[in-house]
Symmetry: C2
Subunit: 189 residues, 2 copies
């Protein structure tokens, strides 16, 4: 049982790493199995829905982990929305730089490859982005339900970060993150 749970965890980890680095379609089950060291039979025991099920589970875990991280970052910068936005841009740039610009946002990769044609994944992605957006809006405008303006601003922050990731992969530099931070902070928050 412990070994079986371990196989499941390893498959999810390998899939997340590969999807983020090279995309969903480019990642075959064979490569996931090879990286995670799981035998094929055990894989289908855990993931009878195959690669699609794996994508849904990886996305749910990635979405929740990122949202929790955003809420933690917001807590560290309570009362300082500009500091929060700056830290968010810097942390994302650092994460990419550490991976030699070769790691993307899982949600973005799945959105570009599978949404909107794959309705179930598109719906799951909308939920993930809404969760991140709520966490960022709460950091920008703490206390109670964030205003429509704060929610719009949070969505713009996510868009800027996702786009900066795209540019950073091509330019292999943190410049896009500096550019969006400057832009987002230009009105002082």
């Amino acid at each position: 049982m412990a070994r079986s749970t371990e196989a499941r965890r390893k498959a999810l980890e390998s899939a997340e790493r590969l999807f983020r680095a090279q995309g969903y379609a480019a990642t075959g089950l064979a490569q996931i199995l090879a990286e995670s060291g799981a035998p094929k039979g055990s894989f289908y025991f855990h993931f009878p829905g195959g690669k699609e099920q794996l994508a849904r589970e990886v996305l749910a875990a990635y979405g929740a982990r990122t949202e929790a991280w955003l809420r933690g970052l917001a807590e560290k910068h309570t009362g300082d929305p500009a500091g929060f936005v700056r830290a968010l841009c810097r942390a994302t740039a650092r994460e990419m730089q550490t991976a030699d610009w070769a790691t993307g946002c899982l949600a973005q990769t799945l959105a570009l490859e599978l949404a909107p044609a794959h309705g179930e994944i598109a719906d799951a992605l909308a939920v993930v982005f809404a969760g991140w957006s709520a966490a960022i809006a709460a950091a920008i405008e703490p206390g109670g339900r964030p205003s429509a303006a704060a929610r719009r601003r949070a969505m713009a922050v996510i868009a800027a970060l996702e786009g900066a990731r795209t540019l950073a992969r091509a330019t292999r530099s943190a410049m896009p993150f500096d550019a969006i931070a400057e832009e987002l902070l230009s009105r002082g928050a």
Copy 2:
């Protein structure tokens, strides 16, 4: 000769449409040939480098076409940087909505799937993004060489647009484009 040029053009068109809708890896040569109606032999005559060569040529054409479009849009909004940015967000949202949110930016798709691992494509992407950035910077700050601030701002505009495309695919709505337009225009330009 005319027929052969036609086959070449059709292959490029089909590849661009498929790459933008579903990504690079998900698009097999067989599907490109089926959509473009080109026989396999003729395809390899035009594209001895196969799918990679096709991607490079599609990217070069898409990059140049988009840059020309940006320069045309800038001309229409001479002296009105805010109007230019607003028109840019609206036009991109409209293009996606017309395609039921199923069409992405070719450069973004290739960046997420192939860069930075595929060095030649990453370099070509950096050139394309630099061209767009220069066109946007010139619209924001016309006359002579744009300042570092205008170039940074142009990069932030591209990042915001690419990210809004990602969110629009998942949420199947123009809201992300409204959000970034609001954010980008909040300082009045």
